[in-house]
């Protein structure tokens, strides 16, 4: 998957964070859609660039006052900084195809959650970085979208989130409605050229838990 071969219809997609459950599902789905899928930024033009990177440790609930400075730096600041550097790398390749950038940013940043302060802070920072990219890069023909899964879709076992109140809202559609596959389905939809008018939007894929605004 790391070598760029032209997809069935000549479209190329980059998925950063393909080792995460959501990243892997998105990479599989885009490959099935006919994209040549890579995981590292190169010189080749990109129709789609998806960012699904997460520092897994940052999903471990911990009170802020028990989070030391270096841990806060890794769980919060580094995740924003890493996204910025990735956006800077993909800007030219995506501009070459007037393509779409997708950020995976769980709804927890919009709702807040006790126990996940550094992570939720980082994700909301990432989301506003993406919104600003949508505004600044529109003149380059680039569309930037945010797909917001339920944070539960990022962990292999929801019990890892014991100690937060992140899962307090019930998904209206039930437990099968917000997994990595559902997220990948929505990414597949929003990278279609017709969907570029959605630029700047945040699309929750949380089974109808948040329903905001």
């Amino acid at each position: 998957m790391d070598s760029l071969t032209v997809g069935a219809d000549g479209r190329a997609a980059l998925v950063a964070g393909a080792s995460t459950m959501i990243g892997a599902a998105v990479a599989r789905r885009l490959a099935a859609d006919g994209f040549a899928v890579v995981s590292e930024v190169g010189d080749a033009a990109l129709d789609v660039a998806v960012y699904a990177v997460v520092e897994p440790e940052s999903l471990s609930p911990r009170p802020l006052v028990e989070t030391d400075e270096s841990t806060f730096a890794r769980w919060c600041e580094a995740q924003m900084r890493d996204l910025l550097q990735w956006l800077q790398q993909v800007h030219a390749p995506v501009r070459d195809r007037a393509g779409t950038v997708v950020l995976v940013a769980p709804t927890v940043s919009q709702e807040g959650a006790a126990g996940l302060v550094p992570y939720a802070t980082a994700v909301e920072g990432q989301r506003l970085m993406a919104k600003s990219a949508a505004r600044q890069w529109a003149s380059d023909g680039i569309s930037v979208l945010i797909v917001a899964p339920r944070v539960e879709a990022l962990v292999d076992d929801p019990r890892r989130l014991d100690g937060t109140d992140a899962l307090r809202n019930e998904p209206a559609l039930g437990p099968d409605s917000y997994g990595p596959g559902a997220v990948a389905d929505v990414v597949s939809m929003v990278v279609a050229p017709d969907a570029r008018v959605l630029s700047g939007a945040t699309l929750p894929v949380d089974g109808g838990a948040l329903m905001a605004p």
Binding site: P63, L64, V65, E69, F72, A73, C76, E77, M80, R81, L84, Q85, L87, Q88, H91, A92, V108, S109, Q110, E111, G112, A113, A114, G115, L116, V117, A120, T121, A122, V123, E124, G125, Q126, R127, L128, M129, A130, K131, S132, A133, A134, R135, Q136, W137, D165, G200
Partner: protein, 259 residues
Amino acid sequence: MTPPAGVGLGPRVVVITGANRGVGRGLALAFAAAGAHVVATARDVDAGNAVVTEIRDRGGEATFARCDVTIRDDVDAAIDTAVSHYGGVDTMVHNAVSVHSSEPHELATSPIELWDQHAAVSVRGMYSCAVAAYPHLRGRAGSFLVLTSPAGISGSPRLPFYAAVKGAQRGFVKSLAREWGPEGIRVNGLAPLAATPALERAFEADPSMEERLGSVLPLRRYGDPEHDIGPAAVFLCSGDARYVTGQTLVVSGGRLTSL
């Protein structure tokens, strides 16, 4: 501990970062006018002391603490000043921003060092202020207030790094409010649009911005830091707002109505 209702601010102790000018100076003046004991902190000693002098000349109570919020020891020292002068901290206000906050920049090409400066003041500084103030805010119905921005809600085509750190602050406010609520500590955000030196610099850098912004501003004027923004901050940190937490109050003359 539930604070009493309907008593306004009372003689509370407020620590404010970046109190030397702009919104921070306005907040310091407004809190002092409401009867608070103000610890005005800033890197700029002369400007910070000038604000303190202004407050005292009006009969208010204030003291200065030199503080670079990117240095944890400075933040701890500012808290210590509040404790030694006024016996504690009821409200911590993180208002300081990078000196580069109003300089337009390109997301695709701006140096990472510029990002690091924005993040150091707005994100790491916020963390340090929260963690340092926490032991003092507990048990006295304390509150933590973060000065965020409409840019942190809508994004910004000219100030993407600024918008990102201001968005991060809103994520922090919502989550920390949930975390600290059971201990009676409230955490809120305030997103102002104010006539400040920073806004003037932004207008200088992009002259079309002033007209563009003004034409979509329902109240047709930019907020005065002391008289328009300050009272909203005082409210959020007062007993009158004792049931308000995790919120961002947008004080922008109606500029932003989408929240």
